[in-house]
Symmetry: C2
Subunit: 342 residues, 2 copies
């Protein structure tokens, strides 16, 4: 049976009228009473009904996910994680893909927050890494959570969730080295995604740690796409001296590289090992399946959403000074046939 | 330069106050004046600003897309088409995946429409094909558009967009027959999707038209998933008498079938031809690429959204008696290497 306003009032030891004032955000409730009511709401998992919500004014129940990312699997996994957490907390989700490089991007985002009366935003790269977007949101008092590539959060910065791409890329590269590879190619995604930078740093660090030289001609720049994989493998396989392994910045690139290798009749993994990053369905559905780093995108998204909701609650309680600690995800190495020589 | 309320008033030959009444849906404007103002709004592509929207009360600018479909590429393409049309008309999009078989599905959908103040809904199969959902929406006066498998709309039914799966499946099957195949397998998706039924009917009709027998053991039932493809091909290839071609109900199944065939060392297309349906990225990124039917999901979604917006405008103008004609999409045969013996 779901909780009612009556059960919340009893649980908190206050009147129904007081609970109603809290739900409707009337601002006439003492802080410690407010905290008691909020605790009872949380404990009983009470969902204010429509009437209460309509009365709530500023207190809306729609979150927005703003993104600029062409990777269908990433977006679907992000949506899945956000939606799980929304559902558990009585929120709905509005999605707004955009062109992060557009001149009007800030106006576009602020307009959307206003017109759809959003409670807060979830931002993934590259938007979460654009200072001008963040400061415009701060100025307007719009709550948001950032998903970022990195290992440590800024002190007193806005709420965020971190993905340690550096460490995961280091592990993938080390795995290739352990398989006996010395000449390893790297296919990069967009440079405006910090994940690309961090993965390339991890790659370089692992080579350096094993005293292996870096060949500049083995690093190909591209985008996080299947097409980049196909084109890059063409470039790598026509070099005078060719690599025996390739680390692609995501699974979609890796799947394209695998496709390109097969087109040229190159055997994977016997002649060329290929690793990706993300553990998307791509990595399991190619033939042979791809070695990759398992990035739990849906869990990352879910954690980001719960962090945002926590931040919205803290503001409502006026208890907003304690920063919420950032959770750090480290993608894990998954070895499959595409790099397995044995 | 974007249109202002002043330019709309001048264009329509009315006062600013009258335009404001129309935007705010006050209901005190004569029908022909209303029509004139609406025409001016459309012609100048005027977007009421936030203040006007907030005043508009019932007139909200968020549409909802409700779906129960595990196919990532289908969902992303649907979202893309809906978002294109939303953007062109100043709407935002809320997404709400759900379990269509849940007992509370109707309550869930109605609750969402209420709490997020949605203007209307876009429904794709199987939800668009569930009479109990449709009648609950009708009863509450919620506007929606349906995307359906079929070739002809109900007279005076709610707005819809049709996809002629039957005809496209007939063409794929005929293509396989023309390649010399007589023993053709069929791998079905979920039976609660009409598309499955229609595609199977098209398959059977093409066999019958060419006087070819139907082997019941060649028809495998499953879901629209990669896993179904892998498992079904296992069943088909271990029959005493095996098919030389397989028509999979979508590209994800076909990609799974191709994966399964390669696992067993079966050459595609020399020993086994495989065709899919949808023209998703799957069909271009497998090796060899898949023959399929090009279903322009994003265009279908965009058309559905424009039909919904048209229906919302018609209601606003009180001009709601004329049904909006249903557009019919016919997916087109795309021949690639997976069925090409030459």
């Amino acid at each position: 049976m779901s909780a009612t306003i009556k059960s919340v009032a009893e649980h908190a030891g206050v009147s129904i009228k007081t609970v109603s004032r809290v739900i409707n955000n009337e601002g006439t409730v003492k802080p410690d009473t407010l905290a008691k009511v909020q605790a009872a709401i949380d404990e009983l998992n009470y969902k204010p009904n429509k009437a209460a919500r309509d009365l709530a004014g500023r207190d809306n129940f729609v979150l927005g996910y703003v993104y600029d990312n062409p990777n269908a699997y990433y977006i679907i996994d992000m949506q899945k994680g956000i939606l799980n957490e929304c559902r558990a907390n009585g929120y709905e989700l509005l999605i707004h893909p955009c062109d992060a490089s557009s001149r009007d991007i800030i106006q576009e985002i602020l307009g959307m927050v206003d017109s759809a009366r959003l409670a807060g935003l979830i931002l993934s790269p590259p938007l979460s890494e654009m200072p001008e977007v963040l400061s415009a949101l701060d100025e307007k008092g719009v709550r948001y959570v950032r998903i970022l590539s990195g290992s440590e959060a800024l002190e007193n910065g806005p709420p965020c969730v971190l993905v340690n791409d550096y460490q995961a890329a280091y592990q993938i590269t080390e795995h290739l080295i352990q398989q006996g590879h010395r000449d390893i190619g790297f296919i990069a995604g967009e440079k405006q995604h910090n994940s690309t930078i961090e993965r390339q740093k991890g790659f370089a660090a692992a080579l350096a740690a094993h005293d292996l030289p870096q060949h500049p001609e083995f690093v190909i720049e591209g985008t996080y796409s299947f097409g980049t994989g196909v084109e890059s493998i063409e470039k790598l396989l026509t070099l005078p001296h060719i690599p025996t392994a390739v680390f692609a910045c995501n699974d979609e690139i890796a799947a394209g590289a695998l496709f390109g290798a097969r087109m040229r009749g190159v055997d994977v993994p016997a002649t060329l090992a290929i690793a990706g990053f993300e553990n998307s369905p791509f990595s399991r559905q190619t033939f042979p399946p791809l070695t990759t780093a398992s990035q739990p995108t849906d869990q990352i998204a879910q954690r980001a959403t719960s962090t945002l909701i926590q931040s919205l609650k803290a503001r409502k309680l006026g208890n907003d000074k304690q920063p919420i600690p950032a959770h750090v995800f480290v993608p894990e190495l998954v070895v499959r046939e595409s790099t397995n020589r044995s």
